[in-house]
Symmetry: C2
């Protein structure tokens, strides 16, 4: 496979695209959104049939995909995301005169994006990674996920149509089909400047290593999933065991458990062991076996369970053998905190509707669990306000282990807004300093550049003295949006 032409076209498109106004960029992004909306009666059944996800779920996902695009369109149209900073000159300063310095964020260059199997729309072709890279000013070379080739190709065409209709160079977006080998070639290509990926730890880590072994290493933003523990405190759980068991099971089994944020661990105080386990067992029995995204994923799910079944520390609360090659039953096991602390296997993600209930004796054991936890996308802490106020040491530790800490509700259902952080410490992502959901996902694909004593006429609009864009800027240490 030789991708030279594709990257050369992308590089050419880049030099042109990075100079267009935020307003034009927003117009282009909104065209992608309206192209997708216009094709929704085709896209929804297509994505549903390729992913085995129900049409209702795909309908929601399409809405989310369009909403994301509009958020980034608004962001680049408003323009302040470039973090413009101006330090004025002072020719009188001694011992040396102070130069005029202006800094803002500029796009990285061509970016390789990998599609995710579990979100054929929102984390795939026109998903958050592609759109935030385009919003930043980066051309995208997109490798579709082989699990939904037709959906991927159709959305790719809708993006390319928006590129053409906006009078932009076609190299701005390229859709590539392929498997592991093609993906590796893209990551290794000398003109690639960053990679975005959502998927398994194994896949993300392989890409991360490859990118770092290049002659010019490039950043990899890999969201690799996690087990998203829910920690329950005594009074809160005791106040509503059945309701909370229901919330937990419904989050665990949503979409056959195929969400990055589905909770695969729940910590329960010893005193509530039986009541909670009974409630959960009752809830989980109601959940029918659900088709997974593809056969490989269903097989991996049952293989992981088989591996865990050999562990005698686990007591199984619910387990069924595979019914057919694609459908999977939810499964649940119980373990003491003492045993859980002994083996990292018990916090490895099992992609699907499986969770471990960890029974803890006291606050000390809970702190030990918190210390042992690996990096997570999310941690949820269910406690009454009064309980929580005595848990500052626990909360302090939990902050170190996640990107998002919840005090109500369940971790599935990731808001797309300004305050979302979807990215936690390793191994949940390869870069805890970034988010792959929400407005600030755009920052992954930009870097600061400073201009020293640049003539006013040459300055980009964001840095011109008159602030023609009316954006927020840090001027001589003070934030303002004067113009």
């Amino acid at each position: 496979m030789n991708y030279d032409h594709i990257f050369q076209d992308a590089q050419e498109a880049f030099l042109q695209f990075k100079k267009i106004s935020g307003k034009s960029k927003a117009g282009f992004l909104r065209k992608i959104a309206s192209n997708i909306e216009a094709e929704k009666t085709t896209l929804i059944p297509l994505a549903s049939s390729e992913s085995n996800l129900p049409e209702g779920r795909i309908t929601g996902e399409l809405g989310r995909t369009v909403g994301q695009i509009k958020l980034f369109a608004d962001l680049v149209e408003e323009g302040s995301w470039v973090e413009a900073v101006i330090d004025h000159a002072n020719p009188e300063r001694t011992p040396a005169p102070k130069p005029d310095l202006r800094r803002f964020l500029t796009a990285l260059g061509p970016v390789v994006v990998f599609g995710a199997s579990n979100f054929p729309l929102a984390f795939s072709t026109a998903g958050g990674d592609t759109i935030s890279a385009l919003a930043a000013g980066c051309p995208v070379i997109y490798k579709g996920h082989p699990a939904h080739p037709k959906t991927s190709e159709l959305v790719g065409q809708l993006i390319s149509k928006a590129v053409a209709d906006s009078g932009l160079p076609f190299g701005l977006f390229t859709h590539i089909e392929g498997g592991v080998e093609e993906g590796q070639e893209l990551v290794k290509h000398r003109m690639a400047k960053a990679v975005a990926f959502t998927g398994s730890y194994k896949g993300g880590k392989a890409i991360f290593d490859l990118a770092n072994q290049r002659e010019e290493p490039i950043p990899v933003f890999a969201e690799m999933g996690s087990v998203n523990p829910i920690i329950t405190l005594e009074n809160k759980l005791g106040s509503n065991i059945e309701g909370l068991a229901k919330s937990f099971v419904s989050s665990l089994t949503l979409g056959a458990g195929q969400f990055c944020t589905n909770p695969g661990l729940i910590m329960v105080p010893q005193i509530h062991t039986d009541a909670f386990c009974n409630a959960v067992k009752k809830e989980i029995k109601e959940i029918a076996a659900a088709p997974m995204l593809h056969e490989g994923i269903a097989k991996a799910y049952y293989d992981s369970l088989a591996k865990l079944k050999s562990k005698e520390e686990l007591e199984w609360l619910q387990i069924n053998s595979a019914e057919d090659i694609i459908k999977a039953h939810p499964a649940l096991a119980k373990i003491t905190a003492n045993d859980w602390l002994e083996d990292d296997l018990f916090q490895e993600e099992v992609f699907g509707s499986f969770a471990i209930v960890v029974i803890y004796k006291d606050s000390e054991e809970l702190l030990a669990i918190a210390r042992k936890l690996q990096g997570q996308l999310t941690i949820t802490l269910w406690g009454e306000e009064e309980e929580l106020s005595q848990k500052s040491a626990l909360i302090n530790l939990l902050e170190e282990k996640c990107g998002r800490l919840l005090f109500k509700g369940v971790p599935t259902g990731v808001e797309v807004g300004y305050a979302m952080q979807h990215g936690g410490p390793y191994p949940s992502t390869s870069d805890s300093r970034s988010t792959s959901v929400g407005a600030y996902a755009i920052k992954r694909f930009a870097r600061p550049i400073a201009f020293q004593d640049m003539p006013e006429k040459l300055l980009p609009d964001a840095l011109k003295e008159s602030n023609p864009l009316g954006i927020w800027r840090m001027i001589d240490g003070e934030l303002n949006n004067r113009y």
Copy 2:
């Protein structure tokens, strides 16, 4: 070497330190600054004798070091650097209620900092890396540079004194002596969360690779130097050949050429070849041999020149053999753009006062040079405004190759302020998305965390509804500093 205790102390200090107010943090940083100022009559001669840098230069560097610390103190006292973002709940939203989400930057954890040989104060023990990490809330395990052990140790004591006098845990700062092996152990330690380094490409790359091969890879912010090309355009150079030759030579030879930003390449239009070369030769003859930082550096300088001398494409304008084991003469060679384009060796950094004058024929050749350039900390473009206005394609390309683009003056002399970007594309740094000088250096050592539906009482002050810190925050998509 077993650093477990040091990292455990650092981790304990971290959990306490990250919760203290910006005001207290600022007070602590200012204590470090005043401790350094109080010892300046000891520090200046000591650092000068250990580095062979003249006392005048060290005096300036001490002022810069203290100024940097005060900048970070002001930054954390003001507090808006944490990028607080609030998206309010909307319980009425359909189909699902919207949760309350609040996001800000939190410190990464214990950070390993390496001292630089060429700035015994400003990029060493209490230099920009240490101070920006502390300002972010990260404990620092600092490995002193063996070239200035006594300076390093003394400054380390001044920091530890500030830690103690501020009632902070001693694990917040640890000074370690050692060489390569000790450095490797620190980078590999499982409790280290990031690394900052300023030095050679070889050293930075080794640390980068080591950090990425860890079980938990960690970010490395390595500033690895560059050749900082100056590109001269015909009219501008023609208007003042002697003056510009003088500026160039003085920047090249400042501090025996031992700055990350000293210009090791200058592009000259063919028409001015003789006049410029004569002017430069005249200037450079006036420069006496100067002592380098240590014998190893002087030897490496002459070794690099010896390697280049075998290249017949180079015409030597100035070259002297080594006078003694520590002093070095400036050296200068000339090459045609055509030959320069053929070999990457001609853009490898030679640490010291050496530069190559590249003679280009026309705009096409200049664009070819720009395309060929590796990532640089800085690029300087000297042109008349009218010439520059015809060079948008060149400027567009140059932006891709550097972190700071200058239009006047010389690249040495890096301002410490808000708008500085000291960090360019690889290989000048390992992460072009970061800066190691200026206020935003603090961002390297922090990551976002989001709190979902956190009870008001538990929220950090930066995220409390009432905005008790009076900081700038993004609230429901609008920036404001109401309180």
